[in-house]
């Protein structure tokens, strides 16, 4: 929906928008970060943030408990993002929900211990993570399928509990748990593949 159309529907009292801007200000960084990790592009993140806030402004009168503002805003952002996804390519419905068994069993922790890319390190696993700049990490993260990325973003980045994440996503707790686990496995696999492909680690080098 166009922002203009949303504004026309808003029918908010005078200065409601300015007041709402003050209310959401403490959450704006987190909300923008969420939009950015959902959409992976700065321009899309800004559109999504705007839509979230306009939708929020319209519904804000119905929010009784103001200290639930943060999860409420994340719920609105999630729904706005889903609507966009559906409008675009029905991506959510066509994406495979099943990680392969090979992926399920992949363990980055074990792989690092076996491949031992830093033979003289006392902090093998930390040293591996230190290879990744923020943009490397973000690239790996962006490649995780959206349904599995969402619970990771909400819990690991924004500190929501699994139960809160389930409420925000509107799915049962068990669904969040299995998606969280699969997302984590995609992340682990993605980090290892990225490190190998970009030459951050050397493996299978037998010339010593």
């Amino acid at each position: 929906m166009e922002a203009g159309a949303l504004m026309r529907e808003a029918a908010a009292p005078p200065k409601a928008g300015a007041a709402f801007a003050d209310v959401v200000a403490p959450h704006l960084d987190a909300l923008y970060g969420y939009c950015l990790r959902l959409s992976n592009r700065a321009a899309d993140a800004e559109d999504l943030l705007q839509e979230t806030l306009l939708n929020g402004l319209r519904a804000h009168g119905g929010l009784r408990v103001k200290d639930r503002l943060r999860p409420w805003l994340f719920t609105i952002a999630t729904n706005a993002w889903r609507d966009r996804q559906r409008a675009r390519a029905r991506e959510l419905n066509t994406v495979s929900l099943d990680a392969s068994d090979a992926e399920e069993d992949f363990s980055l922790f074990a792989t690092l211990a076996i491949e031992d890319p830093f033979p003289y390190s006392d902090e093998l696993h930390l040293d591996f993570l230190r290879l990744f700049r923020d943009e490397d990490m973000q690239a790996v993260f962006a490649a995780i399928s959206p349904v599995h990325r969402l619970p990771l973003i909400l819990t690991a980045i924004h500190g929501f509990s699994c139960k809160e994440a389930a409420a925000i996503l509107g799915v049962p707790l068990g669904t969040v748990l299995s998606r969280l686990h699969r997302g984590r496995k995609q992340l682990e696999r993605g980090l290892w593949d990225y490190a190998v492909q970009h030459g951050l680690v050397k493996v299978g080098d037998d010339d010593d």
Binding site: R8, G17, A21, L180, L187
Partner: protein, 81 residues
């Protein structure tokens, strides 16, 4: 006692308060007896911390200005409706 595969499968849920008390108990029993899984849990914490750092963002000032501008005009006289 649960095996390593089950224990590893519960770890991220454990770190985000996603487990029932009984499942926590089983996991903690396993951790008490399995050094490898303690290492895996520690690495899970580190990885999540790294994800959290890399995933955090700040609203660019120009975006913040545009947002405030947009919201300030909703419901105002002269609202383009």
């Amino acid at each position: 006692m649960i095996d390593c595969r089950e224990a590893v499968g519960r770890m991220w849920a454990y770190l985000s308060q996603g487990l029932e008390a009984h499942d926590v108990e089983e996991l903690e029993d396993h951790l008490g007896a399995c050094q490898r899984c303690c290492g895996e849990l520690e690495f899970s914490r580190e990885l999540r911390e790294r994800v959290s750092q890399a995933g955090a963002a700040q609203v660019p000032p120009t975006v913040r200005d545009r947002i405030n501008e947009l919201l300030a005009h909703v419901g105002q006289p002269g609202d383009p409706s």
